[in-house]
């Protein structure tokens, strides 16, 4: 097998042939004059197909995608609009440059001995590289500023939630309502909710793409952001600043409730833990209070008052365990308690040596803490 090296002159003349033209096409040779008015038929179709396909995908192909382009909150709404503006501007620019490059490729080729000495040609640089970008970028900047302004925290929010980042879970407090929870927060649909963000340890970032843009949780700082959900639903978010071993499994859920459902939730959440209804659950409560659970977790209404881990007072109504690591089912919870390291290795909860009876009782108790 002989491999080929480029030979001088090999390329000469290979591309001077002109393909036969269909009658009626204006402008003569297809390669002759690249013009701004060149027919865009095939290109336009491609754009529609690609753009349309993209839009469908990005709206959440699995319906459960926490997609920035499937906005359900005012902040995300703004940005989604911004995205499409930027996308189409980019698509046009990309197309223009690609077409220019393709035109250059389609022109007559040279070889090692060719040397073109024509001057000029700088107009393209000035127009394409300076004037048009200056205009477009100024417009983009102005739109961006307007949207940035619109995302400013509104002056009058009647609801404040404090979200504090921990490795690798979210502490949630409603100071005015006296609610303490973890990894989930409820908001009323249609009302702006102020979020005060900080961290107990390293930097995390609050990102619920369907509701609003992300904001970091930084120790020593309190950042303010806000959400306003436009429709009821459960919106998934995930920590968006690398925070160590289990950064990948630090999800948060924002549940938007219609107003009365929200009020009911608040009223329930303020209550201490549901009393143990039967002996098994009662034994479960004792197991909680006497084992190491109490060292890290709080269940209001029991003697368990630890603050190193999430508050479990209403754990039974949470959707997931371990900040999104597992769905909250008794089977999963059992596995988590016995050895959460198999699910979320490196997390701060050590394996719990419980007897099977203790474990069953504990599960019965916890699952009823709604």
């Amino acid at each position: 097998m002989t491999l080929q090296a480029p030979r001088p002159g090999r390329r000469a003349g290979t591309h001077t042939t002109r393909s036969p033209r269909r009658a009626g096409r204006p402008g003569g040779s297809r390669w002759g004059r690249p013009s701004a008015s060149r027919p865009a038929g095939p290109l336009r179709w491609a754009v529609v197909v690609v753009g349309g396909g993209l839009a469908t995908q990005l709206a959440g192909c699995g319906q459960t995608s926490p997609s920035a382009l499937d906005p359900h909150g005012s902040g995300a709404d703004r940005v989604a609009g911004l995205w499409w503006l930027l996308f189409w501007i980019s698509a046009v620019v990309f197309a223009v440059v690609t077409v220019l490059v393709l035109v250059a490729l389609a022109r007559r080729r040279g070889d090692r001995d060719t040397l073109v000495r024509r001057g000029g040609g700088e107009a393209l640089i000035v127009i394409g590289g300076v004037i048009v970008p200056a205009i477009v970028l100024t417009a983009v900047y102005v739109v961006g500023l307007r949207d940035l302004r619109a995302l400013t925290v509104p002056a009058h929010t009647d609801l404040t939630v404090e979200v504090t980042g921990h490795d690798w879970w979210w502490e949630v407090r409603y100071p005015d309502q006296g609610i303490v929870s973890a990894n989930e927060l409820h908001v009323p649909v249609g009302r702006p909710v102020r979020l005060l963000l900080t961290s107990r340890d390293v930097i995390h970032s609050f990102w619920v793409p369907q509701l609003t843009v992300k904001t970091d949780l930084i120790p020593g700082h309190t950042n303010t952001t806000w959400v306003q959900a436009s429709r009821p639903g459960t919106y998934r978010g995930q920590c968006a600043e690398y925070c160590g071993l289990q950064h990948a499994k630090m999800a948060i859920f924002v549940i938007a409730d219609p107003p009365d459902a929200f009020d009911r939730w608040v009223a329930n959440e303020r209550q201490p833990a549901v009393a143990a209804a039967d002996p098994v659950a009662a034994r479960g409560r004792l197991a909680l209070e006497r084992n190491s659970c109490a060292a890290c977790h709080t269940v209001r209404g029991t003697t368990a008052g630890g603050t190193l881990g999430p508050d479990l007072t209403h754990f039974g109504s949470r959707r997931t365990i371990g900040a999104g690591a597992l769905p909250n089912t008794p089977g999963n919870l059992g596995g988590w308690i016995v050895n959460s390291q198999t699910v979320k290795p490196g997390n701060r909860m050590p394996p719990q040596p419980l007897t099977p009876e203790e474990l069953q009782a504990l599960l019965a108790y916890l699952e009823r803490l709604k």
């Binding site: 001088p8 390329r11 699995g62 440059v97 490059v101 970028l137 990102w207 120790p219």
Partner: protein
């Protein structure tokens, strides 16, 4: 009166280094050092590439159990750190080392010993950082190493030590290289090579070198402060004691943003070297390109906060940096349109180097456009730290740096080795890499918009991310095969490649005026240039050959180069270059002792490095007999 033959022989004798192993440690020849940078950087590239393949394999499917979080976090940290610090800049500095003196018509860099020293430090620092893998404690804080995660409280282990100490050590090499490029470009140009006749690749390297001089100290200050926090209990970044984690970010990105231009500008310079040759005409808009390079380097220092739009900074500040980040697009666009204008007004030759340039042009624009998106604050705040930004920066860094480097391999390797690479294998490599790259990174725009954060070792199924991740993994493997093809091509060319001759491409710049590979003294006679495209001047070769008849033009004294003035390149005097010497290696070893000892907290060892460095520097500065007054 010596004859041409006798003078040429004297040239060869005074410039040829002794053969043998000792010489390998003592070389100060910029061509040898340049080749070493290229080889070593390629090695680090392969390592970082395998790290990427491992990550992509883990992410091909949700909840894949191939790689656990501890290992994964080291992989993504080292992938980024290695690619940026140990591959991109050293590789481009390697090509710079080899070709800047040649393109300037000089016989070496301004400081040959500093050059050698810079290489040894790069090698030692790179080995030091990667030695961390041997004990399973590679840096794991991400390539930008945010505190407090990487501070003494949350990562007390030595992982981060490898990062801080390693980069402090490496910074010496980068800075030394930058200073060398600046002084070489100022003082060693061929007569007649005024500022407006300097090759665009050299302008790019010059702008980059100035960016290094001003950017690297911010990183060094940052790492030094983190080192002090971690090892000696200082509190620069400790919010409880008056410090601030955000200070790390400001200093880091003050370095970090210019750094991405430090990576991209030389690569764009390679494109500027290739486009005229393969369009068979002088560049359209030479002046605009010079302006664009300088403007990019300068403005790059005014945009760093766009990496911090989610940190909660005041709106006024973010608005300013948003504007600056949009403005920096303009010099980028100028470069693109200058190349396109040149291609449109020339006659293209579509050999492999140009193929990579074409692929680069199209995809780099895409990356630049997502960059514009990131300059808009609210949009940035939605997609920063997601896979959308991973897509963006790979489009600008991989396309922006690696494609031109591959083009340079096909374009310039024949000058270095004397052998052309195979065209068909080159084209295969191009299509695999171009197609594979787009399959690998385009879907990341989508998974980012669908809510997938970056730096995650796994993800849950049912979030709509699965298919895109699988596609990316397939693309990664295609890319890997594409690189394999070029590597095989390179090895093949060493034995079976067609001899390149002086000038296989019909080039325009001075490196094509000498043999492939060049003799140790580069040029038998010092060239004189009258334009920015010397090889395309009328009868340039005949004039250069004829110049050998003149004793002044041959400059065949003892190991001499010609020093010229900064602006107009009028000759000033001949200066004598140092011979090969072990001193740069000794000083580098002294620094290795000092930094290595610091890393493992063996302060006696570290202290022992200091006298080694001092003694070495004294020997370095000690004048040769000829330099002393009579």
């Amino acid at each position: 009166m010596a004859t041409v033959v006798e003078r040429t022989q004297r040239l060869a004798e005074s410039w040829t280094e002794a053969p043998g192993l000792a010489s390998w440690f003592k070389t100060v020849d910029h061509k040898k050092i340049g080749r070493r940078y290229i080889w070593t950087a390629s090695l680090f590239f392969a390592m970082a590439g395998f790290e990427a393949l491992a990550m992509r394999t883990q992410l091909a499917r949700p909840e894949e159990g191939l790689i656990g979080p501890g290992a994964y976090n080291q992989l993504f940290t080292m992938h980024g750190t290695t690619m940026i610090f140990l591959f991109a800049t050293p590789m481009l500095f390697g090509f710079g080392n080899y070709f800047v003196p040649l393109m300037l018509g000089a016989r070496d860099m301004a400081f040959p010993r500093l050059n050698a020293f810079g290489y040894w430090v790069f090698l030692f620092a790179g080995l030091l950082m990667n030695a961390s893998f041997l004990i399973g404690q590679a840096p794991n804080g991400g390539w930008f190493n945010y505190v407090p995660l990487t501070g003494p409280e949350y990562t007390p282990e030595v992982n981060i030590g490898f990062y801080t100490v390693g980069l402090l050590f490496l910074g010496i090499s980068t800075t030394a290289g930058a200073i060398n490029f600046i002084v070489t470009t100022f003082k060693l140009r061929a007569p007649g090579m005024s500022l407006n006749r300097i090759p665009l690749f050299v302008w790019a390297i010059l702008a980059t070198a100035f960016a290094v001089v001003f950017a690297l100290p911010a990183l060094n200050a940052d790492n030094a402060m983190l080192l002090l926090d971690r090892k000696f209990g200082f509190h620069f970044f400790d919010p409880a004691m008056g410090g601030d984690p955000v200070l790390w970010q400001h200093l880091f990105w003050l370095f970090g943003h210019p750094d991405v231009y430090i990576i991209v500008l030389p690569a764009l310079g390679i494109v500027s070297a290739i486009v005229p040759v393969f369009s068979r005409r002088p560049m359209v808009g030479y002046f605009w390109l010079v302006l664009a390079n300088v403007a990019t380097a300068v403005i790059s220092f005014g945009v760093w906060v766009h990496h911090m739009f989610a940190v909660g900074l005041p709106q006024l500040s973010m608005s300013f940096f948003s504007a600056a980040s949009l403005v920096i697009t303009i010099p980028g666009g100028i470069q693109i349109f200058a190349w396109v204008a040149t291609m449109l007004r020339g006659r293209l030759v579509l050999d492999t180097p140009m193929l990579f340039v074409v692929g680069f042009l199209i995809s780099f624009v895409a990356g630049g456009l997502t960059g514009v998106m990131f300059a808009v604050v609210p949009f940035d705040q939605q997609v920063t730290d997601s896979y959308f930004v991973v897509a963006h920066f790979h489009y600008v860094l991989f396309v922006g740096a690696v494609f031109p480097i591959l083009a340079a391999v096909y374009y310039w390797m024949p000058k270095i080795t004397g052998r052309l690479l195979d065209e068909r294998l080159g084209k295969l490599s191009f299509w695999l890499i171009f197609g594979g790259f787009n399959l690998l990174f385009f879907p990341m725009h989508i998974s980012g918009l669908l809510g997938m954060p970056r730096r995650v070792y796994t993800y849950l199924p049912g979030l709509g991310w699965d298919g895109w991740n699988l596609a990316s993994t397939i693309g990664a493997y295609l890319v890997a095969f594409g690189f394999l093809a070029t590597f095989v091509n390179f090895l093949w060319s060493l034995r079976r490649g067609r001899p390149a001759g002086d000038d296989p491409w019909g080039g325009d710049s001075l490196e094509w005026a000498t043999s492939s590979p060049p003799p140790p003294y580069n040029f038998a006679a010092i060239p004189v240039v009258h334009s920015a495209y010397p090889l395309w001047e009328e009868r340039f070769r005949e004039r250069l050959d004829g110049a050998r008849g003149s004793e002044e033009r041959q400059l065949a004294g003892d190991h001499e180069v010609l020093r010229t003035s900064e602006l107009d390149a009028t000759p000033e005097r001949a200066i004598e270059m140092p011979e090969e010497t072990i001193v740069p290696l000794v000083v580098a070893l002294g620094f290795l002792l000092a930094f290595g000892g610091l890393l493992v907290s063996q302060y006696v060892v570290a202290a022992a490095g200091v006298p080694v460095v001092l003694a070495g520097l004294a020997a370095w500065a000690w004048p040769r007999r000829e330099e002393r007054p009579r």
